[in-house]
């Protein structure tokens, strides 16, 4: 039993050594993850989120970026726990007011 994410030792070719920018939405994903996992809320543990993206299947896993995986896994787990549904989330995003200064 070897998960598709368990790639230690697999051939990868040359590693691109370029510094990637940490995008604003990625910081927000990490901030939300920290809040959901902190010791007072304990809504989603790091291990639960990992189980989430390790259950995507290899196709979806390889298509998504690091933070996109985390975001999608958190939504899956929140849905699984009955906290929200994807439909509710989509509606909330649709209705959200654009923050000042954002384009």
């Amino acid at each position: 039993m070897r998960g598709y994410h368990d790639i230690g030792g697999s051939l990868s070719g040359p590693i691109p050594r370029t510094e990637l920018p940490w995008l604003d939405w990625e910081k927000r994903v990490e901030a939300i993850r920290n809040l959901l996992g902190d010791s007072t809320r304990r809504v989603i543990s790091l291990d639960e989120m990992r189980r989430g993206f390790e259950s995507f299947g290899p196709e979806k896993y390889r298509t998504l970026s690091f933070y996109r995986r985390r975001l999608e896994a958190m939504i899956d787990i929140l849905e699984e726990k009955g906290v929200l549904t994807r439909a509710e989330l989509a509606a909330a995003v649709e209705n959200s007011v654009q923050e000042p200064g954002e384009t």
């Binding site: 039993m1 998960g3 230690g8 030792g9 291990d47 639960e48 189980r51 390790e54």
Partner: protein, 95 residues
Amino acid sequence: MPLFHAGERIRVLDLGKAGHVRIPAYVRGHVGTVVQFCGVFLNPEDLAIGNAGGCVVGCYRVEFLQTDLWTDYSEYPDDTLVTEIYEHWMEPAHG
């Protein structure tokens, strides 16, 4: 109380578990040396399915020779790799 102690030779089990596990495939079945007992922690395999009420398990730093892990690692025979292994993935190794 730790089951294993620094200096002991252990073999990493291959438990064939589905779900979230922390033991990478490349160390399973290999023999290494316990470097340090790190303490006891909730089992990440339980936490991954939302169970925070399970038993705690011991965790150890274990050192492997790179040449034991990889067939094509011959240039630096003294190189080692240290990784953390939970107690239920370990058995004593003899010889």
